[in-house]
């Protein structure tokens, strides 16, 4: 079974530029998550999708971050404009369903550096 795929793996941009990340979850997984992991910290949930609907985006900085999951499969996360403090690893995860006790399967992450 193929795992969660993410691209690109690394990205370096100047502040105020825009950037987009892509995620392809495990086939058949209904729930998709985007996390931000700052160096030395645990992952912080940005947004959770159930199929193509948003379940939780309470910690997404909506003035600069946006995410979509068209057709309930792939997802993109965009930052526009980027700030220095956005430097982090952006992790995508998926799980078969929503609800507690579900194991989440993580991709390798995209490491973003904002200069």
């Amino acid at each position: 079974e193929a795992g969660v795929a993410q691209s690109p793996r690394y990205k370096i941009i100047e502040k105020r530029q825009s950037v987009a990340f892509w995620c392809n979850p495990i086939s058949g997984h209904a729930t998709l998550y985007w996390y931000q992991q700052i160096l030395g910290q645990g992952p912080k949930l940005l947004i959770q999708f159930q199929n193509n609907g948003v379940v939780d985006d309470s910690q997404l900085p909506k003035d600069r971050f946006s995410a979509e999951r068209l057709k309930g499969v792939d997802s993109t996360l965009k930052i526009q404009p980027a700030k220095l403090e956005d430097s982090a690893v952006y992790l995508c995860a998926s799980s078969p369903a929503a609800g507690y006790s579900e194991t989440q399967y993580f991709g390798p992450g995209t490491r973003l550096l904002v200069l």
Binding site: P43, A93, A98, G99
Partner: protein, 112 residues
């Protein structure tokens, strides 16, 4: 305020010993607690899940305890090996929609 805290210092132990990692939380009421392993440059990998009404869970050399009165989970790796060296994350598994709230992680180093 709500907090979840793991051992702040890195843990260095000798091969063959038991590693014990701590996860404490305040002002949360999780349904479950999960433990993940994260290697450098990789995403977290699920290890174990324990329910709020379970005291202990085991899987091979791993053991997790969960005390909802103390609001604490302990994660043990027995007969530790250098290959166990990684960062270990605890995550509170909340009733609302499966949201996970992660601690900051504890870096474990097992020396041969």
């Amino acid at each position: 305020s709500q907090k979840i805290e793991q051992n702040s210092e890195a843990l260095n132990i000798q091969e063959g010993k038991t590693a014990t990692l701590t996860c404490n939380y305040t002002n949360y009421s999780p349904a479950y607690l999960q433990w993940y392993r994260q290697d450098p440059g990789r995403g977290p990998v699920f290890l174990l899940l324990i329910r709020e009404n379970e005291k202990e869970k085991r899987k091979e050399r791993l053991k997790v305890t969960f005390d909802t009165t103390l609001k604490q989970s302990l994660f043990h790796i027995t007969a530790s090996q250098p290959a166990d060296s990684a960062t270990y994350l605890c995550a509170l598994d909340m009733y609302e929609g499966g949201k996970l709230i992660f601690g900051q992680g504890t870096e474990l180093s097992v020396k041969p």
